[in-house]
């Protein structure tokens, strides 16, 4: 059985916040796929999402029994495996709308690009907590983690899945920055990339190639121009006004203005029906969740554990910020799901496992003092 001290240090507040966010997600999906629910009450995306959440929470609980410290040893194997799977996606993946993101194993389809995010967190946390790497490390100590990041980022980019690649790079980048990068190095990176990239983009690539790159990176661009989704999304959000139109009363979301309203644009469905108040609640819940995860990081006496929790916090934060920013028309449209709210099995399961990791760190925060 579990040590009593482990249970005492379990952070229940995270579970409450998480449950609240998941409920918001379920309400929004219910509304988004309402026509489908009426047609098929037992088999629809809402029911499926409940199943995904249940699987995610179960796996999260199960993962708590494994001491996260043991991940340090297996993380290179996990990393190797996920890189292999990402390569397998490119070779064998199912082609959906011109991009290959899905892999089928034993009848289950999943997106390795969602799971690589957790594995890169563990791998980087392991590296930065090893004996010889202190804060603000020397440049040769940074080469290895950068390489560790670039390989999966390029593989995900090749699918192409720009959203996941950005999230992955953002998480890894914030962990590297968290450990500390000397100003000198940052300056060097910025000063070398800009003069290299600009002429590449402007001179070496021909206009049609640029267009191809843009289309490749974002294959589901609306034929009417990128502005269309955003405009519709803005009408949906704005028409919610202060208090919202009420549950199932949204009119924008009934029109097929967004092909993926239950995934990437779920926030606008919520915003239309629950208004500014609902949006503020959701954003504050995300803020609270990230704060609680960071508190775990700060409280942990173990550098490995802290860095894992930082990575998990960063993962949730970047995905939420990029998704909402895009729906609000502040950032370009890239496909990134809103954590725990958007429909999607791989995303839900991967993020539940990530929160499980943070809880794992929280539960075992004093265990190491005795050693």
């Amino acid at each position: 059985m579990m040590d009593r001290r482990l249970i005492e240090n379990f952070d229940w507040s995270i579970i409450w916040v998480l449950s609240a966010i998941m409920c918001i997600g379920l309400l929004s999906i219910y509304s988004a796929v309402y026509t489908q629910i009426q047609a098929r009450p037992t088999s629809n995306l809402f029911v499926k999402q409940i199943v995904w959440l249940a699987i995610g929470l179960t796996l999260m609980c199960a993962s708590l029994f494994i001491n996260y410290q043991r991940l340090k040893a297996v993380s290179p194997w996990l990393y190797g495996m996920i890189v292999f799977l990402l390569a397998a996606v490119l070779a064998l993946g199912r082609d959906v709308h011109g991009s290959k993101r899905w892999l089928e194993i034993a009848g289950f389809q999943f997106q390795p690009s969602e799971f690589v995010k957790i594995i890169i967190i563990i791998q980087l946390a392991g590296y930065f907590s090893s004996q010889e790497v202190a804060n603000f490390p020397r440049i040769r100590k940074l080469i290895f983690p950068v390489m560790l990041t670039i390989v999966p980022v390029l593989l995900v980019l090749a699918e192409p899945d720009l959203g996941s690649a950005i999230a992955l790079a953002a998480v890894a980048g914030s962990m590297i920055l968290f450990v500390g990068v000397r100003w000198r190095y940052l300056a060097i990176v910025v000063l070398t990339i800009i003069p290299l990239a600009m002429p590449m983009w402007q001179r070496v690539l021909k206009p049609y190639q640029k267009q191809r790159v843009l289309i490749l990176l974002s294959p589901d661009r609306d034929p009417l121009g990128a502005g269309y989704h955003i405009r519709q999304s803005k009408i949906a959000i704005g028409s919610g006004m202060l208090w919202g139109k009420g549950f199932l009363k949204g009119t924008q979301n009934k029109l097929h203005f967004l092909p993926e309203k239950q995934t990437d644009f779920i926030f606008s469905v919520w915003a239309e029906e629950w208004g500014f108040v609902g949006c503020a609640v959701l954003i504050l819940l995300f803020g609270l969740l990230i704060f609680l995860v960071l508190r775990i990081a700060a409280r942990s006496r173990d550098r490995f554990g802290s860095l894992i929790a930082v990575g998990v916090g960063g993962l949730i934060m970047w995905q939420a910020l990029i998704n909402i920013g895009m729906v609000l028309g502040l950032l370009p449209v890239v496909g990134i799901p809103l954590p725990f709210v958007s429909y999607g099995g791989s995303s839900v399961i991967a993020l539940c496992l990530a929160v499980g990791l943070a809880e794992n760190v929280s539960m075992r925060r004093y265990v190491f003092q005795s050693h």
Partner: protein
Amino acid sequence: MSLESAEALSFKKQYIVFFAVMLLVMMIYLARLWYLQVLCGQFYRYQSENNRIRVEDVVAPRGIIYDRNGVPIVENRPAYDLMIIREDVKDLNGTIEELARLCECNPSDLFAVLEANKSTPKFIPLRLVSDIDRDCLARVESELIRLPGVEIVIEPKREYNWDGTAAHLIGYLSQITEGELKSGKYPGYYPGEDIGKVGVEYGFEKYLHGVRGHRQVEVDAVGRRTRLLEEQPPVAGHDVWLTIDMDVQRTAESLLEGKAGAIVALDPNNGEVLAFASSPTYNQEKFIKGLSEHDWHEMAKDPGHPMLNRVCGAAYPPGSTYKPLVALGALQSGAINPSTTFLCPGYLSFAGRQYHCWRKGGHGTISVERALMQSCDVFFYHTGLLMGVDRLAEYVKMFGLGAKTGIGLPGENPGLIPTSAWKRRATGHPWEKGETISISIGQGYDLVTPLQMAVAYGAIANSGKLWRPFVVKRIEGMAKGEVQAAGPLLKLEIPVDPRWFALVQKALSEVVSDPRGTAHSLYDPAMPLAGKTGTAQVVGLGRGKAGVNNKDDAWFVAYAPASDPKICVAAIVEHGGHGGSAAGPLVKQVMAAYLKSRHEPAQK
């Protein structure tokens, strides 16, 4: 732990920065939400309630298909489809009843459409009736104001200037299936779009199809368009110019009327297909409104198999039209020379069996030239035995037999030229010499398509240049050579001595010009043609069923003018009887039509 190293491992500052960044972005987002929802909320609420935006697809007209002289064969016409948007309909049952009355159709058919699309969201327009006629259109138009949620959309549909003409070459359109959508072969296609299913419409789909456009419209509370917001007009498909000559094509088709068979005509100097007729044919118009299950079964059950492409999708034994190829192979391989003679007593005894010549009394002592002219079977029995099955196949295959010609149409039949290795693989038994006897006169396992025979005779006509046949001369907006399937392609210079070509060409001329030739009835000094008759037994092909015409298939393959070939024609008439009399006149008339139209191009 020293103070310094504790400092080096602490993240205090980082937490503050991390959290500050998050709070800053959260503030920006909340401010943005306040702006959208509270400051501009009224504006967006108005937009969402009073003006709804819909995206409508605008179907692109397909490319027009012309003949070689620019005569349009297949064009587009506007078709009117009756659509319903259930969300905007007040009384669905009443509206459907009313529409059924206006269109004089059965209300249950319309209800069936609703039933089939029950799970489609209600704001998506459903196509109740496609391609309604003018009277119905006029009646619905006048009542439209009373029928919210009902609309009429105009879509370009195919118009066949001669319905059924060259149907097997041009093909027909039909809605893309779910499987085709998933196959990945049609990127960017939507459900409900028409695609080419066979023929040029299929083979050149990507050029003909065009790019669909989109219209973003504002609609009011009852679904009427109030404003066009944005439009991306469709891009019409590329027009396609075929190589066929409509005059020649129509002549060939009228000649085949009431018969089952095929006529294909080529330009032997580059492989252009001048006529591509397969009979019986089918009406492409039928596919426009969507073929009903009943019609489909009717067509599938039709004993004439109208959907079968007899030009290149069906293979027949070539019969005696095979002999010139055997002769060329035998001469080149040294198995015989021009003065080799065999005695034809009317039969050949081999391994205890008698193989007959078509002429019971025999041809006497005969050389290759006269054997071709009079189509002596016994001469070729000997020749075949001297060569052996594999050497024979090697030469005959150089003329393109036993392989797809590469014409670029779907469903091409490769035919079959047997070898001993093939037989062992296919049946498990070794090759028997007696079978060599059958195949040397184009019977037995030999199977060819009329197109292959035309290509092979084209190569004889021009002394060894094997051209890939092609049907598309030019595609609008495409440079010469840009489209691989369009334009001439020399596949092979057949390595046979020009002397042997000259000899066989002379013999083929004599088939017609010499009073003893098997096609002398076609002799016309004004249009000297050279060719070969063929009569292929259909026994054992599964077609010789009781009660059905059991006559042999009649072949005639020829080119003209004999001295300077401009056209090469292969014709087969199923169960036509003797090749010279049943198929020969057809070939001659097709040639005459072409040689005449070269001076005065066709008019529609």
